[in-house]
């Protein structure tokens, strides 16, 4: 008779115990949550400021919710602040750089990863040795060279300089990936009558899609956020500014327009944050790769 009641009574006990065991974890979640809120605060503040009136910001309240949503701040940044142009420039430069980097790194990674040939060790050695070259060291000759080639005041010059620089990691990622593909693939392709180029374009390249995604995403991030090169390349021609340089110019010219500045920041960051939201896996894989290898 008491039998049915007993499981219920004993079930209540483990549940309480389970809660007690989980309590430290939920405390930890609360602590991490508070830190995370502080962590993203600058972005939250920026979004909030972009929708406030300048007077409301200067009043210095800590309230993050605007009294009234002022979308005109965005219109001001977009047209008066030239962010329409800056955004377009950044998109052109980023897409151009990503395409060039993916093509040249896939090609180089393929032959360096799969073939031994005279000079292959030397090339790999040079690439690895220059893995850590800082931009501050190479910038002056890059500018001088671009000036001599007539590329200094052009987006194409910016694209070439950005895609010629620090992409050693991408080549190494491709090389490592191609090296691990089984040799039977090539043999089958040769039997089918495919040449060197055919083997690469029809078999190897499609197989390397995960790596291509990783390299594209990381190059996108690197180029979208680039500042030093675009800054120097757009000195004499403000029409070439990317968003990162444009932001500097905007606050230089409108130092009191806080809400316009915040709106410009939101406009500039939305594309890269959206890319991150959808392609998070590839960001993480690309960065983790440098530790694993």
């Amino acid at each position: 008779m008491t039998a049915p009641a007993r499981p219920a009574a004993s079930a209540a006990l483990p549940r309480a115990r389970r809660w007690r065991r989980r309590l430290p974890w939920w405390t930890l979640v609360a602590v991490l949550g508070v830190i995370a809120a502080l962590w993203v605060f600058p972005f939250v503040w920026m979004v909030s400021a972009s929708l406030k009136s300048p007077a409301e910001i200067f009043a210095g309240g800590l309230d993050l919710v605007p009294e009234q949503l002022r979308w005109e701040n965005y219109a001001r940044a977009w047209t008066d602040g030239n962010f329409r142009r800056y955004l377009l420039n950044t998109a052109i430069v980023t897409v151009g750089t990503v395409v060039i980097v993916v093509v040249r790194c896939a090609l180089a990674g393929y032959v360096l990863g799969r073939y031994r040939f005279p000079g292959s060790r030397l090339i790999l050695g040079i690439l690895v040795a220059t893995l850590f070259v800082p931009t501050g060291y190479t910038i002056i000759p890059i500018v001088k060279l671009s000036m001599q080639l007539g590329l200094l005041d052009q987006l194409s010059g910016m694209i070439l300089a950005l895609s010629g620089g620090a992409n050693v990691a991408a080549i190494l990622i491709y090389a490592g990936y191609f090296r691990r593909l089984p040799a039977e693939l090539e043999e089958a392709a040769v039997v089918d009558g495919a040449g060197f180029l055919g083997t690469f374009t029809r078999i190897m390249l499609p197989l390397s899609m995960p790596v291509t995604a990783t390299v594209s995403v990381l190059t996108f991030l690197f180029t979208w956020n680039a500042f030093f090169l675009p800054l120097v390349f757009s000195f004499s021609n403000p029409k070439l500014r990317t968003v990162s340089v444009g932001m500097q110019a905007f606050v230089g010219e409108n130092s009191t327009d806080w809400s316009g500045m915040a709106a410009a920041g939101v406009i500039s960051l939305i594309p890269i944050v959206a890319l991150f939201a959808f392609m998070q896996r590839y960001f993480v894989e690309g960065i983790a790769g440098s530790v694993k290898s």
């Binding site: 979640v29 949550g33 995370a36 962590w39 993203v40 605060f41 600058p42 972005f43 400021a49 910001i57 200067f58 009043a59 800590l62 060039i100 040249r104 090609l107 180089a108 393929y110 032959v111 790999l124 050695g125 690895v128 220059t130 070259v133 800082p134 931009t135 501050g136 060291y137 190479t138 910038i139 002056i140 000759p141 890059i142 070439l160 010629g164 080549i171 190494l172 089984p182 040799a183 040449g195 991030l221 956020n225 500042f227 030093f228 000195f235 968003v243 990162s244 340089v245 932001m247 500097q248 915040a262 920041g265 500039s268 960051l269 890269i272 944050v273 998070q280 530790v291 694993k292 290898s293």
Partner: protein
């Protein structure tokens, strides 16, 4: 060991990376022509990289040395050879040594906070029992993807002494308005902390990747042996992570030499040059001056390249020594 990270990558299975001997078929006349064609393709594939990398990385590295030996303002064609005078001038400039000191201090503040802070956070986030851990990963990683130059500008406003939220909050707490970036005593530590915040996520991902390499069955075995969480951590996780400490530190230190974007947009080296890292020093003489001194700036840039080389090289050397003695023990 072929000596490069890419080649030293552990191969997953013997069958995964077979480098088959050339086919043992009898040599046909077409064979040699095909081999030659293959070699041509190989060099054709390398061409874009050789051209672009040569133009924008290798040539500038070498040209910097030439520029550092001439006196040149960048406008006129005449470059007057002055030998090591530029180096002498740079080394005699107290501002250069101040920039070196600031670069090193910046690195010394940022690296331990990032390496050890990210280590602890990674341990927590790696626990399967922690609820919402992937949500936290995303949030803590978020600053990494944002444009540094834009974050630098936004931070200037967040830390503004008059209307910035940080100063307003300090005022409400009775600390009065504070100007963290405006005083030379606090500007460098503040900038360093912002840099830690900005790129903390990268080091976090490094550690999480390192934690993934700990085999799951080791945990299982430890649990069966009755080891508690602390004992498992001390005797299994920690020893397996130590080798990663070296490479993660190297990567993080190297990252500290790329602070130009943040510094230039946030403080531009000020106030009173208290945050002037070497990259800003070079930039000031090469591009921001009314009469650029490209020779002088190149000499400083070359010295900066040497500093990076020495710091990173020394670390890699120590790492290799430690690994070798560890292998012997």
């Amino acid at each position: 060991m072929t000596g490069t990270p890419a080649l030293a990558r552990p191969r997953e299975a013997p069958s995964a990376a077979p480098r088959l001997a050339p086919p043992q078929r009898p040599r046909r006349p077409g064979q040699r022509a095909r081999a030659r064609r293959r070699t041509l393709w190989i060099y054709a594939f390398l061409l874009p990289t050789v051209v672009l990398y040569g133009m924008y990385t290798l040539y500038p590295m070498i040209a910097s040395y030439w520029y550092s030996l001439v006196e040149w303002n960048g406008f006129t064609a005449d470059q007057r050879f002055v030998g090591i005078d530029n180096y002498r001038a740079v080394l005699a400039d107290p501002m250069f040594w101040s920039a070196v000191r600031i670069t090193v201090v910046f690195m010394l503040i940022v690296t331990p906070l990032r390496v050890f802070g990210a280590f602890f956070l990674a341990i927590l986030l790696n626990s399967p029992k922690l609820p919402l851990s992937s949500f936290f990963r995303t949030l803590y990683f978020l600053p990494v993807v944002t444009t540094t130059a834009i974050v630098g500008v936004v931070m200037r406003f967040v830390l503004d002494p008059a209307s910035g939220p940080v100063s307003v909050l300090a005022g409400l707490l009775g600390l009065g308005p504070i100007d963290l970036l405006g005083s030379s005593a606090t500007a460098l530590p503040t900038a360093a902390l912002i840099y830690v915040w900005k790129f903390f996520g990268i080091t976090l991902i490094y550690w999480l990747a390192a934690l993934q390499t700990v085999p799951k069955d080791l945990y299982e075995a430890a649990r069966i042996d009755g080891a508690g969480a602390v004992a498992t951590f001390r005797h299994i996780t920690l020893p397996l992570l130590i080798p990663f400490l070296a490479i993660i530190t190297v990567l993080t230190v190297e990252d500290c030499f790329h602070a130009f974007d943040l510094m230039q947009t946030m403080t531009a080296g000020g106030p009173f040059y208290s945050t002037e890292i070497i990259e800003i020093y070079v930039y000031r003489y090469a591009f921001a001056a009314t009469i650029p001194q490209l020779g002088f700036a190149s000499a400083a840039a070359v010295l900066f390249g040497l500093l990076v080389l020495v710091v990173v090289g020394a670390q890699l050397w120590v790492t290799m020594l430690a690994r070798r003695s560890g292998a012997r023990a």
